[in-house]
């Protein structure tokens, strides 16, 4: 228990230093995050969490079910607001932003990979991968088409650009989702159990792909995973126990 407290202290010092240094090196930082859910009964899920994700870093978050991993990732991803604390993304405190401003921040600075691929059945593979660009407008879509197409080729879907998502395997669908997360050239990609819904072989493939893209593109990745094997291959592992970072 005291060891855990020590770990937190160290983390605090590190984040404080980064803040003083102007966090040039940070992809994102969260300070003193508490999260309390008040719907129904009041439950505190996160306790005084501080975390800095460095640029280009491949960070794994592990922890028991219900420990608060998804909650933390949603706060880092500007999908949820902390009850207390600050979320700094690109030098701005996201807590102060309106809902639509946070949506635009997500669009421009973040990439998301979910446990399920959540591709749109109405659009083909290329269109799905380009959706974040399309959200920014026609020009952004045109500018990024070649790069996104290149990424799709790189993940082995070069001959599937015009296919519907339903015509792909689960692993292939998740690869499209990974490319979609990179479409807007984000600073940070957030993935919540991206392999959770795949068999171990395609899970392995998807994980390796993310690692490879992390190294190739220099984007920071934050990955929530249950798999100790994957975690070992990350640059850094953060353990969450009962809403606290160890």
């Amino acid at each position: 228990m005291s060891g855990g407290m020590d770990g937190m202290d160290t983390m605090d010092e590190m984040d404080a230093r980064a803040a003083v240094a102007g966090d040039d090196d940070a992809a994102t930082q969260v300070f003193d995050i508490d999260k309390i859910f008040t719907d129904g009964i009041t439950t505190q899920v996160l306790f005084d969490v501080n975390l800095t994700v460095r640029k280009g870093e491949f960070l794994a978050i592990i922890g028991a079910s219900g420990s608060g991993k998804t909650t933390l990732l949603n706060i880092i991803g500007l999908l949820d607001k902390p009850t207390r604390g600050r979320v700094m993304l690109s030098g701005r405190d996201a807590a102060a932003l309106s809902e639509d401003e946070r949506a635009r921040m997500r669009r421009d600075y973040l990439g998301f990979i979910f446990q399920f691929h959540y591709l749109s059945p109405e659009f083909n593979v290329l269109e799905n991968a380009l959706m974040p660009c399309r959200l920014r407008g026609r020009a952004a879509e045109r500018e990024n088409t070649d790069r996104v197409q290149g990424l799709l080729e790189r993940v082995g879907l070069g001959d599937r650009l015009r296919n519907r998502p339903s015509q792909l395997s689960g692993g292939q669908q998740q690869r499209v989702a990974i490319v979609r997360a990179l479409a807007n050239d984000p600073m940070l990609v957030l993935a919540d159990e991206p392999t959770g819904n795949l068999d171990s072989k395609s899970g392995r493939g998807v994980f390796d792909l993310m690692r490879e893209l992390n190294q190739a593109t220099g984007k920071a990745f934050v990955i929530v995973t249950h798999d100790e094997m994957f975690a070992k291959e990350a640059d850094r592992v953060v353990h969450i126990v009962d809403g606290r970072i160890e």
């Binding site: 949603n74 639509d100 949506a103 959540y118 109405e122 959200l135």
Partner: protein, 418 residues
């Protein structure tokens, strides 16, 4: 306003859920068809009813003010206000209702208001038509045919002979009168006026206006012949006006009265009950149209809500990866409005087709072979534009709530709820 994202997602949704789209288009199309059909039918019925009263009479008639006859001995004879009795004393103590200076007023009326399309001086009077043993009371109308035809159409309604270029001693009569008296063109009839003047006239034209009172009772002669039949000298009994806007007849007549020494009576005064009937009819048809459009609005809303609910997951993901509420709102309002627009275009095609088709159905209206439409329809650009505009507007309004629901979707719930 509607960016590439919103437009493409809306269009794909429509294409991907063709059944749903077709259903919405169908709901709107049916309501627009109904609106156009009903609007055209009510409009046509009203036009028929109105023309059944205005088609055979001038829209405004200018005549000598009718005054109650007063016995000479009842008139006050003393004081500064003592009246000077003028006018020609006639039988029954009635003054002859005539306009002496009609030529002046006819030309003044022509310039009085651009709404006045035509002006025709008229001599009207009661008479007896006789041929052989047969006699019947008729109404003699003396006119200048070319002028009068602009006020009340006769020339186009001729069954035989002529109306324009009617000469002295010639008469144009209604086909029913002609049938009753078994006269043909060139036959002679005798007219004895209420003044006792008798004249023999050659039948030069037979017309079928579709108005029983005209076809069975009216005999047209020249203005001059009528003047001598009724011993009017150079005077006429009335001046008839045709207006561009028939519903302005009331106000125009009122304005005329303030500027003329005569009385001006509009067709509307004579037909108050018809007019209030028409108003009631318009209101109830508007009510039906309103209910139809509102019902189709609820239909669109219901279908769109279904569409939104079936897309909650996708909407949540779009929002998670950066779609703003505005973009989602635009997506679904665009989707609903576009469906309503397409529906109203389809409905317009159906409604116009149906209306035009029914307009072709005609039936014989009289023994002369004249036919009328079974369904009187009045199809106007205004009606079509109103129907399209209304349905599309309602589509837009109906899509606001579903779109708002969509825009409010919380991505966290979608991500967690899977």
């Amino acid at each position: 306003m509607i960016d590439r994202f919103s437009r493409s997602v809306a269009l794909r949704n429509l294409g991907f859920n063709l059944g749903q789209s077709a259903l919405t288009v169908g709901v709107v199309a049916i309501s627009v068809t109904l609106v156009i059909f009903l609007g055209a039918l009510i409009g046509g019925l009203q036009r028929r009813l109105i023309s059944s009263v205005t088609g055979s009479v001038p829209h405004v008639v200018v005549r000598q003010a009718e005054r109650d006859p007063v016995a000479a001995w009842d008139l006050p004879r003393t004081g500064p206000d003592a009246p000077i009795v003028v006018g020609e004393e006639v039988k029954l103590q009635q003054r002859k209702m005539k306009i002496e200076d009609w030529a002046v007023w006819t030309s003044r009326l022509r310039d009085f208001d651009p709404d006045i399309l035509a002006v025709s001086p008229v001599v009207e009077g009661q008479a007896i038509l006789a041929r052989g043993e047969k006699r019947q009371s008729i109404s003699v109308t003396g006119v200048t045919p070319e002028l009068h035809n602009k006020v009340v159409e006769i020339e186009d309604k001729l069954v035989s002979g002529r109306f324009f270029g009617l000469n002295g001693g010639e008469a144009a009569i209604g086909f029913k009168l002609a049938e009753e008296f078994a006269v043909r063109l060139g036959d002679k009839v005798r007219i004895t006026s209420s003044e006792g003047t008798v004249g023999d006239y050659t039948v030069a034209g037979i017309f079928d206006t579709g108005f029983a009172a005209v076809d069975g009772r009216t005999v047209f002669v020249t203005l001059r012949d009528a003047q001598s039949l009724f011993q009017l000298g150079g005077a006429v009994t009335s001046i008839g006006l045709k207006l561009r806007t028939i519903f302005e007849a009331d106000t125009l007549a009122a304005r005329l009265m303030t500027q003329m020494p005569y009385e001006a009576e509009s067709w509307m005064e004579q037909n108050q009950t018809l007019l209030s009937g028409l108003r009631a009819q318009s209101q109830s048809s508007n009510l039906i149209i309103g209910f139809t459009v509102v019902a189709s609005g609820f239909g669109i809303a219901a279908i769109l809500i279904m569409a939104v609910v079936s897309k909650l997951r996708e909407i949540g993901i779009y929002k998670a990866i950066g779609a703003t509420r505005r973009q989602i709102l635009a997506t679904f309002t665009f989707q609903g409005t576009l469906l309503a627009l397409v529906g109203s275009l389809v409905g317009t095609a159906l409604g116009v087709g149906l209306t035009l088709g029914l307009m072709q159905v005609r039936m014989a209206a009289s023994s002369t072979g004249r036919t009328v439409e079974v369904f009187p329809m009045m199809l106007t650009g205004g009606l079509i534009a109103t129907a399209i505009g209304m349905a599309t507007g309602v589509g837009f309004l109906a899509s606001l709530y579903p779109a708002w629901r969509a825009a409010r979707v919380d991505p966290i719930e979608v991500i967690r709820g899977a």
